[in-house]
Point group: C2
Chain length 373, copies 2
């Protein structure tokens, strides 16, 4: 019943392993599709599982506002609500408050804000965030943190990171009071792109002690090279026995590079959002299906795929569906993209297990033309 | 390989039987989901089939404009294009020209119009309509007809009906030249709500000779009672050995009443369109899932259903999905509605086969509160 993590194999800094939760196992490195408002957009939950996803992410900010955490709890928790019996990770809500809500006011206590949906006022504290995540019955929960934009001055970044540390302690206390056995709370490493601050954040979090650690404050526009530079001075100091989760990342090349640097978990709206907007990710990079060159292309996105969306429909048909504004276009491309992402993760796991990650990355680089990995 | 129809059992005027086509059998009475632009909106084709649909309908008007009939033909025909290997029926395009296109000009030759998509000019003649339907590779095709609005004066209705008869002959000639073995062309009975005109239309069509007959010009606002009155003086004179298709119908009560009057085939956008707009059809009638009374309703639409959409999601969740604007809401309710429609058809077929249609209708009346049947 307990939450645990085992590393099965390593290849350089990269690891492959297994997270055990009462709701199922998560093969790492893992990509978590985003189910913001209680649904992975345009996907049936059975099809999400069939792509190979072991866990999905839910957004505390959206769910607390609609339908409300108490409502979800009364309906049996988020798993039952959305018909997804496998593990769910929730964020703390903090990041979305900062990016979506208006009239935000940040204090030592927490953050107050106005809902982007109906204008109602809400307060999110470390304690309330944990309470919400426990009402949702999330298997893996996140401490409330502040995620400042970059670039940010060193003193501001330090101040913000230390606030997040104080919130980490309060989150930990609330979680100890409210959580159920087998649930896990992750601490979040902050400190912008300053090595000393990342090290301070990490060592203080490890003193508190968490069953997993997230790397926050990245993928906010700093660029891939800078993100990898931060990972290079952060992940080597992280507890090797705990899963490492790089929040909000990313493009396939971001994921490949971060896995090589020892990251175990990822989430990103890219495959679902791109799918709704006509962008298909393939082993050769992304293609825009609405491009006129696909109008008469009778080949599917991947004839050898086991995914029906990738295999059973021509690019010409997908092109037509988007031109005609049919629901089926986003449905098929989202499915295809999620399947591609899970295939990428399966490929990374196998390459690490077999000690051939360098070759995998060389192939990825050659096919996609990505240079920074 | 040939197109054929056998009546297996009758109960009063109602019949149940089987249409054979080279692409599969169609159990009658049959409901055909509408796949206007090459897709049943918000549905995967496998799920359409799993609801029990043996055949779907495609709209010639939409497909000729986008992606174009020649394009579909070059891509292997409509079945392959949309990944639906079972039978497809296409309409002639005439009805949609009249309801959707602008700058329509009707002559003896055909109808010219401006596309509602890009403003381009097009001409649809009986011959071109058949050519398009053959390019699409439709298994059951419709003659071009004129479908005037009601109420309409007797002399205008007669004039229009006789134009449709001349188009029926021209359609038949074109079909003989262009069609493949096993495909079928249906003639369309017109004549508004005038008994003498419907009789004239029908007897002239039967002289030409078709493997099936459609009843056109109904479900255009005349009301259920008036529609049934027209059926009462039309279906008894139709060839009992040929399938009878009531075009564009309808609500469940319309279908039940028309089946009792000897109709074999139906199509309607209602289950798909209603599903996209938050209306769920149930054995007790329609419910609007966005209604506040469902916000905390933990029961599914039908816990005993074999359809996942009806069984595995609470009304509260469906309510939430529509409130949150999630794709999954229309996906689930469309699926539920199509399954409900196919269950209704299966129930009608079984009732006719077992000689208990009157009891079935009495139950339907009692549960739905519908009085005109």
């Amino acid at each position: 019943m307990a939450f645990s993590f085992v590393v099965r194999a390593t290849d350089g800094a990269a690891r492959t392993g297994l997270i055990h939760t009462p709701r199922g196992e998560i093969r790492t490195p893992a990509f978590m599709p985003v189910g913001t408002a209680g649904a992975v957009k345009a996907m049936f939950p059975e099809d999400v599982a069939a792509t190979g996803a072991d866990i999905i992410l839910g957004n505390t900010y959206h769910l607390m506002l609609r339908p409300g955490a108490e409502r979800v709890a009364a309906l049996g928790g988020l798993h039952r609500f959305m018909n997804w019996p496998r593990p769910i990770l929730t964020d703390s809500g903090g990041f979305q408050v900062m990016s979506l809500a208006s009239l935000r006011k940040l204090t030592e206590e927490g953050v107050s804000f106005r809902s982007h949906i109906d204008g109602s006022m809400h307060v999110l504290t470390p304690e309330r965030s944990i309470e919400i995540q426990c009402l949702l019955a999330a298997d893996i929960q996140m401490q409330l943190d502040e995620c400042p934009a970059m670039p940010i001055a060193h003193d501001k970044a330090a101040e913000s990171m230390r606030l997040s540390l104080r919130w980490a302690e309060r989150s930990r206390c609330a979680f100890n009071d409210l959580s159920k056995p087998g649930q896990a709370l992750f601490g979040i490493v902050q400190g912008a792109n300053y090595e000393d601050l990342r090290r301070e954040s990490l060592s203080r979090l490890m003193e508190i002690g968490f069953p997993g650690y997230s790397i926050g404050g990245l993928a906010v526009g700093e660029g891939r090279e800078e993100m990898f530079r931060v990972l290079d001075f952060t992940t080597p100091h992280m507890d090797a026995a705990r899963p490492r989760y790089l929040m909000g990342v990313g493009k396939p090349a971001d994921i490949v590079g971060a896995v090589a640097r020892g990251v175990d978990m990822f989430d990103c709206v890219l495959p679902t959002r791109a799918g709704r907007h006509g962008q298909a990710w393939t082993p050769d990079g992304p293609v825009t299906i609405t491009n006129a060159r696909f109008a008469a292309d009778e080949t599917p996105l991947d004839p050898s795929s086991v995914c029906p969306a990738s295999r059973d429909y021509s690019k010409a048909y997908l092109h037509h569906l988007f031109k005609a504004g049919e629901y089926l276009g986003p449905m098929l491309l989202t499915w295809h993209n999620l399947h591609y992402y899970q295939q990428l993760m399966a490929g990374l796991r196998a390459a690490i297990a077999e000690g051939r990650l360098a070759g995998f990355i060389a192939d990825f680089r050659a096919r996609t033309g990505e240079t920074i990995l």
